[in-house]
């Protein structure tokens, strides 16, 4: 049975169910012309900000990074110039083009309020939006969706993957989607399972959300084509994860663009990527990190291309749980650190800027004598972004989205217009 047939079933099923369970969640947010889109990408594992955005003009940088320091100036292996002080890693060609086109803001020496060095607590806090790990079981993005004007009972958010990451968990209706590698169910079986779940609070909602996401995906012809191409004959190639990374980006970006292009689609998409925990043999202009950055950069380029005109209404935020040690460790890598970089890229972004209060890299300037010191609270960026891109009222931002964040004033003017 084709995806389209499943969608037809949905309409029937919604009618049959009298609207009680399925109907309210089956419609995505109504499209308004030029409505803004937000994509949040979580880089799990702690991205090395000093490698992604090398401060090549800082006198202490070459000393700390030794032969892994990136040289100034473009050309073979040199950092791509931004503002004469900072450069971009040479693998980040698309981001560099975006900077030139004034569609990229780089934030440096930025950190969440987290000051320890556990990935897992760091990610928890990055996503839960409070100053404490495990303080709540919901994410700031979901709480923002709850506060978005006119967003009642509509799936405004989609996670690209089987499950929803913490940042988007909560009571606002969201869904998750990943390409199916098995045949879709016939409508009779699906109807029976819907009945079977009728009195199960969790499963009935999840099933309805899944069907809603499938319906939107089916509307996107190219997404359907992609699903047809997805090969279920080849199981995972875990030992070739680095090569496989490009394929995963292609799949996720394609799906994200498919959803965001839709008139009736979700406004917000989130996905995550792993592999940034570069303790050993990190590489410089080439090597392990360069490979990952290159895949990420190519994924973003593909997202822009596939979004078409929607790119102009889009802001893509890239964040990571913390940074890495300023100096290279004994195994040509970097250990867990504190401040790092964040990126905001998209047609809606008032870019072409590096926003930072640079603390320097001298021994006294380093946080606890080892890490880039944080001078910008990530929540300042998140608040400014949510206020401008999703029109989340500032009272809500202060109260429910980012509790206990008075010290982090929203950064204004991150977006055009």
């Amino acid at each position: 049975m084709s995806r389209m047939r499943r969608r037809e079933f949905l309409n029937l099923s919604a009618l049959a169910a009298g609207g009680a369970l399925l109907t309210p969640r089956l419609t995505f947010a109504n499209a308004t012309p030029g409505k803004s889109r937000l994509v949040v990408v979580i880089l799990r594992g702690a991205l090395d900000g000093l490698a992604a955005v090398p401060p090549y003009a800082d006198p202490d940088y070459p000393r700390l990074r030794g032969d892994l320091a990136l040289r100034a100036g473009g050309g073979a292996g040199g950092a791509l110039p931004l503002d004469g002080y900072f450069g971009l890693h040479p693998a980040l060609n698309f981001l560099h083009d975006s900077f030139t086109a004034r569609e990229l803001i780089v934030f440096h020496a930025i950190a969440s309020p987290y000051r320890e060095r556990s990935h897992f607590d760091g990610q928890d806090l990055l996503e839960n939006g409070t100053p404490r790990a495990h303080a709540v079981q919901t994410g700031w993005l979901n709480r923002a969706l709850q506060e978005m004007p006119g967003n009642a009972e509509r799936e405004a958010g989609v996670a690209l993957g089987q499950n929803v990451p913490l940042v988007m968990r909560g009571s606002a209706a969201v869904t998750s989607w990943s390409p199916s590698k098995l045949t879709a169910l016939d409508e009779d079986t699906l109807a029976r399972i819907t009945d079977l779940y009728a009195s199960d609070k969790l499963l009935s909602v999840r099933l309805a959300d899944a069907l809603a996401a499938d319906a939107i995906a089916a509307e996107d012809k190219s997404a359907t084509a992609m699903m047809g191409n997805a090969s279920m004959q080849s199981p995972a190639q875990p030992v070739q994860a680095v090569q496989g990374g490009a394929a995963r980006y292609a799949e996720v970006v394609h799906a994200a663009a498919g959803f965001l292009r839709q008139e009736n689609g979700p406004q917000v998409a989130v996905f995550d990527t792993t592999g940034w925990d570069t303790h050993a043999n990190e590489g410089a202009a080439q090597g392990q990190l360069a490979g990952r950055l290159g895949q990420l950069d190519a994924g973003l380029a593909a997202l822009k291309q596939q979004l078409g005109p929607v790119w102009n209404d889009t802001a893509v935020l890239l964040i990571t749980e913390f940074g890495r040690t300023a100096a290279i460790n004994g195994t040509r890598g970097t250990d867990h650190g504190t401040a790092t970089v964040a990126f905001l890229v998209g047609g809606a972004v008032a870019g072409g800027r590096v926003i930072t209060r640079w603390p320097g890299l001298s021994q006294q300037a380093l946080y606890q004598g080892r890490d880039l010191a944080p001078t910008l609270d990530l929540r300042c960026v998140l608040k400014g972004l949510l206020a401008d891109q999703l029109r989340v009222p500032s009272r809500a931002l202060e109260k429910t989205v980012f509790p206990d964040s008075q010290s982090a004033r929203p950064l204004e003017g991150l977006l055009r217009g």
Binding site: E116, H119, L196, N329, R332
Partner: protein
């Protein structure tokens, strides 16, 4: 108290899902059936599986050949050497991949056929506690051997023994980069300085941090950054023969303590001073960590979350932690306290199954064959939980919200449908449902299965039922 008489809780929560007639075998009191499983170590007897040292030694030979080919290639013309290098680089993955497939198949087959499913669940629990991920080089070949060599022998032993086995296993040393970590005042470092070597020599704190955070005390367990750094110095020299590009000092692929990279001197970790005793210094720190109050609490919390509820009831955690402390980390004593906890038997179906739970219970319940011809990796791949590939040393998460996504549910239903189609009328779901789910079977599910249009649809409904999604 009636609840302990519910054999379905024993089979589905503590076990890996009932096989046909398993509930009858369990009989009256599920606790007896579980306690009886806490006997000999659940070793995996499979002659085809090789030792980690053997796997690694052959890999190192291959790696040296690859390196030699790259050096030679670099001298020849560039284009030709690129192609040659690419082909050479594929040799290691091509060598490791079949090892991964046989390890996964053997583990999966054991879980599906085991008559001691609690033992297999515990193996998986500990394997996930000491997680490695096969997306790092060599781990595809070694993750299975870590579980077989360092976890299985100690599942019914002491935590301290398991901890030491794991932290000295080549898989863990490689995964968390310790084989390259060098003490800044070690002989090797000093020699390097005298020669004026440019290469920075020093420690890598990855393994030390994760031992404290993930394997023993837990985050917030009372250690500082200084403890991490000092502990990393303590375990410098914990390495592998033949690894790290240095001449082999011991047998290739086996754990090797390298005194010449060990950071000399006494060290203070968590307020205790440890005199330098070479390898023994780290062993003593590990022993103290294994008996630490924070470790007892951390392990008790994880076990209670895994077996009882996402939000572990505090009285159970306290009870388990107390037993852990009193017995010096005797694991069977801790399991017995868990089995004897009233709370474990009160709420049926409190845990949402992980994809692995779901797949294994489906295979057990329906008696599906695990044979190499059936591509045993596929279901784990499809449902989003590839064996030994959690992607981080924290392992797979253990709460409902991590697994109950909309798309994840649809994948399970589609898989259930595929299984139903494959079986056709070769299974009778109407008969199986009460046999597998016992008292957990609801009237709604019973009736849906009874009214299914076909035998294969009945199987799909059984596998999709709310009470089959949970344990």
């Amino acid at each position: 108290m009636l609840q302990p008489l519910n054999p379905a809780i024993a089979a589905n929560r503590f076990g890996l899902g009932a096989r046909p007639r398993e509930l009858a075998v369990i009989g009256g009191d599920g606790r007896d059936w579980l306690r009886a499983q806490l006997t000999t170590a659940p070793l995996l007897a499979d002659a085809a599986l090789r030792s980690s040292a053997d796997i690694l030694a052959q890999g190192l030979v291959l790696q040296r050949q690859i390196q030699a080919a790259r050096r030679n290639g670099a001298l020849a013309n560039v284009t030709a050497s690129d192609a040659a290098t690419a082909a050479e680089l594929q040799k290691l993955p091509q060598y490791l991949r079949p090892i991964y497939v046989s390890e996964v198949t053997a583990r999966f087959a054991e879980a599906v056929s085991s008559e001691r499913p609690l033992a297999e669940r515990l193996v998986q629990f500990w394997s996930n506690h000491f997680a490695v991920s096969v997306d790092k080089q060599y781990l595809a070949g070694l993750a299975g051997s870590l579980e077989r060599e360092a976890i299985r022998p100690h599942v019914f032993g002491s935590f301290n023994d398991m901890l030491l086995s794991v932290e000295t296993h080549p898989a863990m040393l490689l995964y968390l980069d310790n084989q390259q970590s060098v003490g800044p005042h070690s002989e090797v470092a000093l020699r390097g300085q005298r020669r004026g070597g440019l290469r920075r020599i020093g420690i890598n704190e990855n393994l030390a941090r994760e031992i404290l955070e993930l394997h023993t005390l837990g985050v917030g367990g009372g250690y500082t950054q200084a403890d991490v750094t000092t502990f990393a110095q303590v375990i410098t020299g914990w390495s592998i023969g033949g690894a790290g590009g240095r001449p082999a000092g011991a047998e290739d692929g086996k754990f090797e303590f390298r005194a010449d990279v060990h950071e000399p001197g006494a060290k203070v970790v968590l307020g205790t001073r440890y005199p330098d005793a070479g390898f023994g210094q780290g062993v003593t720190v590990l022993r103290d960590l294994a008996h630490h109050r924070s470790t007892a609490h951390f392990i008790a919390t994880k076990l209670t979350r895994h077996f009882i509820a996402d939000e572990p009831p505090a009285p159970v955690v306290e009870r388990l932690a107390r037993v852990f402390m009193q017995t010096g980390g005797d694991l069977p004593s801790v399991y017995r306290a868990l089995i004897d906890s009233r709370e474990a038997w009160q709420q049926p179906l409190a845990k949402y199954k992980t994809p692995v739970d779901y797949i294994i219970s489906g295979y057990r319940g329906l008696g599906l064959p695990v044979d190499a011809g059936r591509a045993p990796l596929a279901p784990f791949e499809l449902l989003g939980q590839r064996t030994w590939q959690p992607g981080s040393p924290a392992g797979w998460p253990d709460r409902s919200a991590d697994w109950d996504g909309a798309s994840a549910l649809m994948k399970r239903i589609e898989w259930a449908d595929a299984v139903g189609q494959r079986l056709g009328n070769r299974r009778d779901a109407q008969q199986l449902a009460p046999d597998l789910l016992g008292a957990n079977l609801t009237d709604t599910t019973r009736s849906a299965i009874a009214h299914a249009a076909t035998a294969s649809q009945a199987v799909t409904l059984l596998l999709s039922a709310p009470e089959f999604m949970r344990r």
